[in-house]
């Protein structure tokens, strides 16, 4: 019993991280119909920026954890957002009117460029950040207990906050309406006076910022990272986006949570060695039985 609860707690935090990264995949797909394969590497870049930000802040003698946390979040989200903007500008916008395949290949190229650029500039070895937040709370359950570290609670809180703010922006603000209009009918959006190129840039920046949130939180929790960490978590987040229905924002968040929960339960109850196999089998099953995902709508060819 307690192991199930423990894995549910772990799965919830893992799932919220997947959800944050999945947002970038799903929004970009929704607006220009491409899978941004460089998105996992944007997450990886944000892990490095996190380490640099922490080093910078401690260099200036800041020791209080809340200030380091806020400072790191702010710096990393801002710089990673800038990466998102630049990537779209140089790798995707020039191909706006090319075939989908060309953009896809450009995305794979961008992914390789980011990995090699980080490997060259930061070295191939694993890097780490010190543990800044320790401690946990224990909840007695029957004979056993469930342990929730404060870091996991923080991950959950900040992820849900980020998703909440983003949902509000997309649903209730002018910027959100412009994003949705561009997603639903780009040509009509431009006829109504929307600079759709700007909107697409904004979506890339938002996606990168959400990935950066995940990057800061995971790096603070896990400590270690290298230039290749973006790959597996990127594919997992992509799975989450497909599970929820790619193109759907609530779908990405829901897909992330479901994937995280089921993966953690599988790892805890059956085998942690095979948890990736389980996740990707899940992806295959979804694609076979419900290709448009949980909240996605089947695409109808426009006549």
């Amino acid at each position: 019993m307690d192991i199930v609860l423990q894995q549910l707690v772990n799965g919830l935090t893992l799932g919220s991280v997947y959800g944050l990264i999945a947002i970038g995949y799903t929004m970009v797909y929704g607006i220009i119909g491409m899978i941004n394969f460089a998105h996992g590497d944007v997450y990886m870049v944000s892990a490095y920026i996190t380490a640099i930000a922490i080093a910078l802040l401690t260099f200036f003698g800041i020791e209080s954890f809340p200030i380091i946390l806020i400072g790191t979040l702010f710096l990393t989200v801002a710089v990673t957002g800038a990466y998102g903007w630049v990537i779209e500008r140089i790798a995707y916008r020039p191909l706006r009117n090319s075939s989908r395949l060309a953009v896809l290949i450009s995305a794979i190229g961008m992914s390789l460029i980011l990995q090699n650029y980080v490997q060259l500039s930061q070295g191939a070895n694993q890097q780490g950040v010190p543990t800044l937040l320790t401690g946990a709370m224990r909840i007695e359950v029957g004979d056993g207990f469930v342990q929730i570290t404060y870091m996991k609670l923080l991950i959950l809180f900040i992820s849900l906050l980020g998703m909440g703010v983003l949902t509000y922006v997309i649903q209730k603000t002018k910027l959100g309406r412009m994003c949705r209009a561009t997603q639903q009918d780009r040509k009509m959006a431009s006829i109504l006076g929307i600079d759709t190129d700007k909107v697409i840039s904004t979506v890339f920046v938002i996606g990168a910022m959400m990935a950066a949130l995940a990057g800061v939180l995971v790096t603070l929790d896990y400590g270690a990272f290298d230039f290749y960490v973006g790959f597996i978590i990127g594919i997992k987040a992509f799975t989450a986006a497909v599970l929820g229905g790619i193109g759907s924002l609530p779908g990405a968040m829901l897909g992330g949570l479901i994937l995280g929960l089921s993966e953690a339960l599988f790892a805890g109850l059956i085998s942690s060695d095979y948890k990736d196999v389980f996740s990707f089998s899940l992806l295959v099953l979804i694609l076979v039985f419900r290709p448009s995902g949980l909240l996605g709508k089947p695409e109808v060819e426009k006549v």
Binding site: K174, S190, D195
Partner: protein
């Protein structure tokens, strides 16, 4: 009256096919001008070329003294041109209110509430459905929404592409009555229609397009009684 918008010898090509041939057409301030013609004559192409979709291959589109033929769509829209396009193209997953708000992009939200109330008086059906998803509405309601959305930007020139397309005669009548009310406020309107009867009755002047060329022009009344027009577009009676 001064020329508000002027097409000068406009050519448009789709690959090897020429869709518009040396089209010249003038819209004066405060006028209602209509362009009638059969399906596929190039009417919608002409309207969309104002927004550079497609770009014209030669000629000029002068709007208030400036050639806008090479400008971006959002630039054109920001300068007082609004279109209710062919097929309506409302945003299906947005509510009626949100769709109307999309019309305010060029002028900002300052008059949004006031203008929305005005649209609800003009189109009472939209008020009933204000929180409904636009895709769940009937064709006539969607057409009203498309026109209202265009009006929300307080356009200087309203472009309408076949507002009667696929609608029941009674709804068409309603829509043209509303257009008449809008026109009476002095708004300049360029109306593209297959329904020549309604269009010519509403318009001050009209042009007839055949296979991408302007074949005839005249006042609405002149074209309405012209035997050729009657034969081709008014069912010959």
């Amino acid at each position: 009256m001064s020329a508000f918008m002027e097409f000068k010898d406009v050519d448009v090509h789709y690959g090897p096919i020429q869709a518009l041939k040396k089209v010249s057409l003038t819209i004066n301030e405060g006028e209602i001008v209509t362009l009638i013609g059969a399906n596929g004559a190039g009417k919608s192409t002409l309207l969309m070329s104002i927004f550079g979709q497609p770009r014209i291959s030669s000629g000029e589109i002068i709007y208030r003294g400036e050639d806008i033929s090479q400008k971006s769509a959002h630039y054109v829209a920001s300068n007082g041109l609004a279109q209710s396009p062919e097929g309506r193209r409302i945003f299906p997953k947005m509510s009626v209110e949100e769709n109307l708000l999309m019309g305010t992009i060029p002028i900002g939200m300052d008059h949004a509430d006031e203008d929305m109330q005005h649209m609800f008086t003009l189109f009472p059906r939209l008020k009933e459905r204000r929180n409904q998803r636009a895709s769940t509405m009937s064709g006539g309601e969607q057409q009203m929404l498309a026109i209202a959305r265009a009006l929300m930007s307080r356009p200087k020139l309203l472009l309408l592409d076949e507002p009667s397309l696929g609608l029941a005669p009674i709804i068409v009548k309603q829509i043209f009555q509303i257009l008449k009310d809008v026109a009476s406020t002095g708004m300049t309107i360029f109306l593209v229609e297959q329904n020549a009867n309604h269009a010519l009755k509403l318009a001050n002047r009209g042009y007839v397009m055949v296979n991408g060329e302007i074949r005839m022009s005249g006042t609405g009344q002149e074209l309405l009684v012209n035997p050729e027009v009657r034969e081709a577009y008014l069912g010959g009676h």
